[in-house]
C-alpha cells in the first residue's frame, strides 16, 4: 500500500506542475502571454507597429508617395495600356480591380497595425506591474497617438471631406474606430463620435507624453538611462512623439472644421510652432545647395514625425522609389511633371529649394526627387526616410485658422524655402495656402486631403486641365468584405 501511495503522490506532484510545463511555444511562435512577460516584449511589439506602418500599403508607399500622391499631383497622364494601375489611380477609378486591390490593402494593413496596437494596449494594463513607469507612459502614449493617427487617415481616405460646410454629415456613420483585438466587428459610429474618440486617445496620449517624452527635454538624459535600452528612445522624430501628437491634434481639429475646433487646431499647431527652432529647425541652404548625392532632400530636421522605411515587400525602399521617380529609366509609369507645368507650379521661382533642388530636370520633364535614394552617398542619415508630418504644415494650419497672422506664417515658410519675395497684405490667403500645399507636399500624399477637406471641386490633376471632384472621387470605397461581413454603411 505504501508503494501505491508513493506512486500516487509522485503522480500528483507531476500534475501540479504540469500547467507550467505545458506552457511552451516554438521559437518561431510566441503567444501574446509570453510576448508581454517582459519589457523587451512591449518594446518589440511597439516597434512591430512602426514596421507595419512602413508596409507598402501603408506609409511606406501607397499612403504617401504613390497612391495618395498620384490622386491629385499634376503628374503626366499615364497610359492605360502601359501603366494601367497608375492610370486608373490618376483617373480615380476606384472600382477597377487593380486600384481596388490597392485600396483594400491600405484599409487592411492599417487595421493590422491597429490590431497590434490594441493587443499591446490590453497587455499594457494587464502587466502594468512588470513595466517601468517611464516605459509605461511612453509606450502607452505612443500607442494611443498611433491609434488615433491611423484611424484619422482612414477617416480622411474613406470618409467624407468638407465637414466644415456640411455639418449634417457629422451624424452619418463613418469608419469603425477599433479599440479591441477581437474577431468580432466594431460598430460604426458617427463622425462626431469617432472624432471624439480620436481626440480622447490624442488627449490621453498627450497627458502621458507630456510627463516623460524625452523630446521635451523636461528630464536629463540620465533619467532615461534605465529604459533607454539600445537607444530605444533616442530618435524621437521617427516615433509618435509629443509634438507629433500635437500636430495630429491640429490636423484632426482642422478636419472637423467647426470654428471652435479650428481654434483648437491653432492652439495645437502653435505648440509645435513654438518648438521651432529649439526642437525642430529649418533646413539650411548649405544642406540643399550641394551635390544631389549629399542633399538633404526631405529636410529631415523639419520632420515632426517620419518613418524609417527599409523594405517594401521583397524590394528595398530605394529600388521601389528610384524606379518611380525616374522618367529616364522608367518611361511608362514614372511620376513626373512636364517642365512647363512644373514652372507654373513653382511660379518660376528658381530660388525655391523645392523647385531647384528637390526636383530633377530629365529632358522635357521635371521629376520630384524628394525621396530619391542616391547611391554612394556620404550622408546615410538622409536614407530611407518618409516624412509624415512636417513643421511647415503647422504653419499652414496656423495660417488657415488665424487669418490675422496668416501672412506672417506663410512668409516664414516661404523664406525658409528660399523664396525671397514676401506676400503682402491683400493677397488671396486661401490661394496662397493652396499653392504652398501643392509645392510642399509633392510625393507626400497630403495634397489630396487638403482638397478634400475644403471640398475643392476643380483641381489641376493629373494634368493642368482642371478635373471635377465630387464625393465619388474623394471617398475611397470600403473593401467589399468589410461591407458584407460588417454590414457597413459608407454613403
Amino acid at each position: 500500500m505504501k508503494k501505491i501511495l508513493s506512486i500516487l503522490s509522485i503522480s500528483f506532484l507531476l500534475l501540479s506542475s504540469c500547467d507550467k510545463w505545458l506552457d511552451v511555444t516554438a521559437q518561431t511562435d510566441i503567444s501574446s502571454d509570453m510576448e508581454f512577460e517582459t519589457e523587451a516584449g512591449f518594446r518589440d511589439a511597439l516597434i512591430g507597429v512602426y514596421i507595419q506602418m512602413t508596409h507598402k500599403s501603408n506609409y511606406g508607399k501607397d499612403k504617401t508617395w504613390y497612391f495618395m500622391d498620384l490622386l491629385c499631383q499634376p503628374y503626366k497622364s499615364l497610359s492605360t495600356s502601359l501603366a494601367p494601375t497608375e492610370a486608373n489611380i490618376q483617373a480615380r477609378n476606384y472600382t477597377e480591380i487593380l486600384t481596388r486591390n490597392l485600396i483594400d490593402g491600405m484599409w487592411k494593413q492599417s487595421y493590422v497595425a491597429i490590431a497590434n496596437i490594441n493587443n499591446e494596449l490590453k497587455y499594457l494594463e494587464l502587466n502594468k506591474s512588470t513595466l517601468n513607469s517611464i516605459n509605461y507612459s511612453l509606450i502607452k502614449g505612443e500607442l494611443l497617438g498611433l491609434r488615433a493617427f491611423l484611424h484619422f487617415d482612414l477617416l480622411r481616405q474613406f470618409g467624407y471631406g468638407n465637414l466644415a460646410n456640411n455639418r449634417g454629415l457629422m451624424d452619418k456613420l463613418t469608419i469603425p474606430y477599433v479599440v479591441n483585438y477581437t474577431k468580432e466587428y466594431t460598430d460604426q459610429l458617427t463622425y462626431t463620435q469617432t472624432i471624439d474618440l480620436m481626440l480622447k486617445d490624442i488627449d490621453e496620449s498627450l497627458v502621458l507624453l507630456k510627463q516623460v517624452d524625452p523630446i521635451l527635454g523636461t528630464h536629463p538624459m540620465s533619467y532615461y538611462s534605465e529604459v533607454n535600452v539600445d537607444g530605444f528612445y533616442n530618435n524621437r522624430q521617427k516615433r509618435m512623439n509629443y509634438y507629433a501628437v500635437q500636430a495630429l491634434r491640429a490636423r484632426v481639429c482642422l478636419w472637423e472644421g467647426s470654428s471652435q475646433m479650428k481654434a483648437e487646431a491653432l492652439t495645437a499647431a502653435k505648440v509645435v510652432i513654438d518648438a521651432v527652432p529649439s526642437k525642430f529647425s529649418w533646413v539650411s541652404p548649405a544642406e540643399v545647395a550641394i551635390t544631389e548625392a549629399e542633399r538633404n532632400l526631405t529636410f529631415i530636421q523639419e520632420h515632426i514625425f517620419s518613418l524609417d522605411v527599409q523594405m517594401l515587400g521583397s524590394n528595398s525602399f530605394a529600388t521601389e522609389v528610384n524606379s518611380v521617380f525616374n522618367s529616364i529609366s522608367n518611361i511608362f509609369s514614372a511620376q513626373t511633371i512636364t517642365s512647363s507645368n512644373a514652372a507654373k507650379l513653382f511660379e518660376n521661382i528658381a530660388s525655391d529649394y523645392r523647385y531647384t533642388y528637390v526636383t530633377r530636370s530629365e529632358g522635357s520633364n521635371v521629376t520630384p526627387i524628394k525621396l530619391y535614394q542616391t547611391q554612394n552617398t556620404t550622408k546615410p542619415q538622409y536614407w530611407n526616410i518618409v516624412p509624415i508630418i512636417k513643421i511647415s504644415e503647422m504653419y499652414y494650419i496656423a495660417a488657415e485658422c488665424d487669418p490675422a497672422n496668416a501672412l506672417e506664417y506663410l512668409n516664414t515658410v516661404r523664406a525658409q524655402r528660399g523664396i525671397t519675395s514676401t506676400l503682402a497684405p491683400g493677397v488671396d490667403i486661401t490661394a496662397e495656402i493652396e499653392k504652398e500645399y501643392r509645392k510642399e507636399f509633392i510625393a507626400e500624399g497630403q495634397l489630396f486631403y487638403y482638397f478634400k477637406r475644403l471640398g475643392v471641386v476643380r483641381i489641376l490633376a493629373p494634368v493642368t486641365t482642371p478635373s471635377t471632384m465630387n464625393d465619388k472621387a474623394y471617398i475611397l470605397p470600403y473593401p467589399d468584405k468589410e461591407i458584407i461581413y460588417g454590414n457597413r454603411v459608407q454613403f
Partner: protein, 1120 residues
Amino acid sequence: MHNISFYKRFVITLSAIIAVFILFPKVANAASQDNEKIVTISVKDTPLKEILYEISNQTGIGFMYRGGTEEIFLKKLSLNVSNMKVKDALTSLLKGTNFTYNINGQTITIIYQKKSVKQTITGKVKDDKENLLIGVSVFVRGTSTGTFTGETGEFRIDTDVENPVLIFSYVGMITKELLYEGQKNMVVVLTEAAIGLDEVVVTGIFTRKAESFTGASQTFTNKDIENLGNQNLFQSLKNLDPSLNILDNMQQGSDPNALPSMQLRGISTFPREDIAANQTGVNMPLFILDGFEARAERIFDMDMNRIDKITILKDASSKAIYGSKASNGVIVIETKRFSGDKARVTYTGNLNIEMPDLSSYNLTNSMEKLQVELYEDVYKPNLSNNYVPTLELYNQRYKLALEGLDTYWLSKPLRVGISQKHSVSFELGDSKLRAIANLSYNGTSGVMKGSSRSTVLGDVAISYVVDKVTFRNIMSFSSNNSADSPYGTFDQYAKMNPYWRATDASGNVLRYVEDIDPDNLIPNPMYNALLNTKKTRNYINFTNNLYAEWKIYKDLKLTTRIGIDVKRAGSDTYYPVQHSKFINYAEDDLLRRGSYDISYENSSDISGDLNLQYNKVSGVHTIFANAGINLRENKYDYLLYKTEGFPSDRLENIIFARQYALNSKPSGYSSISREIGLLMVAGYTYDNRYIADLTVRSNASSLFGADRLWANFWSFGLGWNLHREKFMSGISDLTKLKVRGSIGTSGNQNFINNGSVSYYSYVTEKYYENQIGVLLKSMSNPNLEWEKALDYNIGVDMNYGRLMVTLDLYRKVTKGLVADIDIVPSTGFETVKDNLGEIQNKGLEAKVSYTVFKTHNSFLNINGAIATNNNKITKISDQMQQFNDRQNSLASDPRYNKPVLRYVDGMPLNAIWAVRSLGIDPSTGNEIYLDRNDSPTYIWSASDMVMAGVGTPKYNGIFGVTGERNGIGFNIVFRFLGGGQIYNQTLVDKVENIDPVYNVDKRVLSGRWKEEGQQALYKRLGNVYMGEDALQSALGYTQGVVQATTQSTTRFVQDRSELTLSSLSVYYEFNKKQLKKIGLSRLRIGAFMNEVQTFSTIKIERGTYYPFARTLSLNFIGTF
C-alpha cells in the same frame, strides 16, 4: 491461498441444501436410531454421492453436505461392507479422504475438509514448434489462483489444492487442462487453434482479454500479413480490413516514395482550403508502435518481418484511451518478442519485380494524332505564325509518320524495377536475459527509372527478468535514402507526341524532340535525366523504447514506458544549368540558371507513461482496472535554403551557388508541443457473461490555449457473452456469441493548431531604426473548441463451428469541425478559425470466415469482409456559405474544368457538384444542360449545379481463399469497391479540353461530334467561337475562337465499381522433421503477385505522375 468468496460459498451451501431436500425427501421420517441401521454395499470407484444415495436407499437416512463444491462429492471411492452399521461403514468409506461425517440428530452431515497441501508448481509452456510462449495464462481450476508465463515461457504457481488441474490458455491456442501429480518442471505444449485468433486485444497501453472487452477492434497476426505481400504494411493492410480505406493515389500511383493516405470509417474533417486537393492527411489514424506513437513514415519503412500483431481500434471503447488523438482510429503494432529458448538465426529474403501497368492509357499514334491536329486547326495561321511554315510543319510531320515514326513515349522513363529485401535476426539468451538482434535491408526500385527507396534497419530487443520486475528494451536505428526519378513526372511523357523522336538513329537521347521549326524547339524530357538532376531525401531515425513491469502484488502491476525518438532528415534538389526548366530564361537571367535546394529537418520525441493495472478474478467477478499518466514532448525544426546560379552542371554542390533564389532567404519552421494525459479504465465482467467497460481520459496539450488546456474524453461499453448462457448450451458448435455496444468521445488533434491563442512572430526582413519588432500572426479565437467525435458502435461476434462472423454497425458524429471563416478586415485579419459544423459517418462492417476443412496437415479457409460508409454533413454554419460562394465563383471561371468542393447540409462532404447534362446536341455538337428549372439550355451556370455523385465508394470489401496441404499453401485476395462516383478527368483533359499541341486520348477521334446528326458522347471537335459574355475579363481578352472548356457536368460523373485481384500467393513450408536432419528448424519459400489486375467500370488514366505497378515477389524464410 484458496479463495472462495463468501458469496460463492453461500451459493454452494444453499444449493447443497436444496439438493438434499429434493434427493432425500424421507429425511423428515428418520428415526432417532438411524445411525444404528445397517448397510450392505459393494462398489468400486463410484462417486461418493451415489454411494451415499445407496446408503440412503437402504436405510432411509438423509445426508447433508457441507464444504466444498458439488463436484467434490463426486469423488470416486470404493467400499465393500456387509451388514455393517452406517456409522462404521462411513468411517471405513471416508478413511483417508478429506471427508468426515457428523451425526446430528436425524441427519448425517458429510463434511469436506481441505487438507493444507501447500505446493509450488513450476514449468514451461511451448507451442508445437518448440517456441516458448510468453503471457500464457495458467490457472488452477476451481480457484482464482493464476499467473502468466514470463519472458522465458516459464511459470510458477503456488496452490494448496491437492492434485490441482491447471488450465493453460493462450491467444490462438487450444486451451489445455492438465492434472498436476507432482511432476517436476512440467513442460506443456499448446497447439494452435483452428480459428479464433482474436482472443486478446492489444491496445498499446494494456492487453485485454477479447472475451471481456466491449470494443470493436480487429487483430491480425504476422501470419495474416506474411501471406499477403512484402512491400510495406499499408499495402498489406489494404487487403486485410476494408474499414481501413487506403486510398489509391491516382496521381502518385506506385511511387515507392509516396506515403499512402488512409481513413478509417470515413472522412471526418473539412479539408483545408489550401490543401483541398489533398484532404486525407488530416484523416490519418494514429499509429502506435510497441506502445509509442509513431509517424506513418516509420511504419511505412519498417521491416514487416518484425511485426507480430496489428490491432485496429475502431470504436469508442477501444480507442478512447488515446483521447484527443483517436478520432480517426488507432492502429496498434506490436513487434515480435522472444519465441524460443534456443539461440537461433532466421534469414528472410525477398526479391520483388515491379512491372509498370499502363493499361489505363489509351493514347493516339502518330497518324491519329496528326488527324486530331487538323481538326483542331493547329496548322491554321494566326497572328503570330504564318500559314506556309505551319503547313510545312504538318507536311514534315506527316512524312515522318508515314516513314513509320511512332515513338512510344510512355515506356521511355520506365523499367522493370528489381527490389531486394534481406533480413537476419538472431535470438539468444537464457531464462533471465534474452535478446533479439535484427538487421534488415530493403532496397526498392520503382518502375520509373532512378526512383528508389532504400532502408537499412537495425534493432536490438533485450529483455531481463529479475524477481518481480521485467525489463524490455527495444533500440532501433534506421537509415533511409530515397530518390525521385530524374526523368521527372510521368505526365510529361504521356503528353509527348508520337511523331516526335526521343533518340537519334544510334540511340542517343536528343535534346530536342523536333527541330523542324528552329524558333520552336521542343525539349526532350528525357534529356533532363541525362544531366545530374537530383531529387533525393534521406533520414536517420533512432528510437529507444524501454518497458518495465513490476508485479507489486499478485493482481496488481505497475508498468512504465519511456520512449525516445530522434530523427534527422534532409533533402537535396538539384537542377543543372541545362535543365529544360531554365530554357525560357531571358538574357538578364542567364546567370540564374541552375538551382539547388537543400532542406534539413530535425525532430525529437520523448514520451513516457506510467500505468497501474489491477486484474482480479474472484469467483464469478472479473475486475480490470488501469490508472495511468502519460507525458510527451515533441520538437520539430525545418530549414530550407533555395539557391540558384550554377554556371556548369558539374558544380553539383550547393556551395557553388551564385546566390539565394530570387526573392528568397533561408526559411523554416519550428515547433514544440507538450502534452499530458490521465487515464482511468475500468472493466467488470460477471461470470464471463456480462461485461461493462468504462474509460475516462483527460488530455492537456500545449497546442491549446490556457483556457482550454484540458479536454476530457470518455467511453462506455457493454457486452454480453450469449454463448456462456445456459440456454445456449444446447448449441454445441457455438463457441462464441457476443453482443457488444459502446459509446464515447475522442478528439481530432491533427487539425487545430494555434487557432485559439494569439501569436506573435519576429519580423526578420526589416528593422525599424535598428530595433527589432514583432507582429501578430493571426486573429485568435478564444472560443475555438477541439473537433470531437462521438462514436456509437454495436457489434456481434460469433464463432459457430468453423464459421466466424463479426458484424459492426457504427455511427460517428464529428462535432465542431474547424475551418477558416472570413471576418471583417477592420479586425486586422481576414480569416479566423472557427467551429463550423458537424459530419456524420455511419456504416456497417462485416467479416466472415469459414474453414471448409482442417486436418493436421491441411486446411482451406474462405473469408470475406465488407465495409460501408455513408458520409453526411449534418450541421453547417451559415459562414460556410462564404466558402461555397467562393467555390461557385471558381467553378464559374470559364477556364476551370473540374468540379469544386461545396458543403451543404445533408449532403456528403465529398459530393461531386455538376450541372445536369442532357448530352451532346446532335445538330450542333454542343452540350445541352438542364437548368434548375428543368429546362434545357446551352449555358452553363454554377447555380444549376446539383449533387451528382459522391467521391468515395459507398462500400468496399475483400474476399479471398487460403489453404494449405502438406506444407504447400496458397492465398488469393480480391478487393472490390462500388457505390461511389468519380469525375472522369481523363475524358475532360484528354478528350474534350485537349491541348492539341500534345498527345491526347484515342477517343478524341472516335467519340467526339464531327458532323450534324451524329450521336456523340463528347463535344464537337475543333474550336468554337466563344462570345464576349463568357470570355470577358476572365480570359483577359474580349472574344475569340477557342476551345470551349468543359465545366463540371454530370456527363463525366461516372459510377465507379472496381474489382481488383490484389494478391496472389503460393508458398511451401518444408517438413520440420526432415529439416531437423539438415540442422534447420524452419524453411519456407513463397511467391506473390500484388495488384495483378483491376477491372473497373470506368476508363480513367491512373497514376498520372507516376504509373501503377504490378508486383511479383519471391520470398524465402529460413531458421537455423
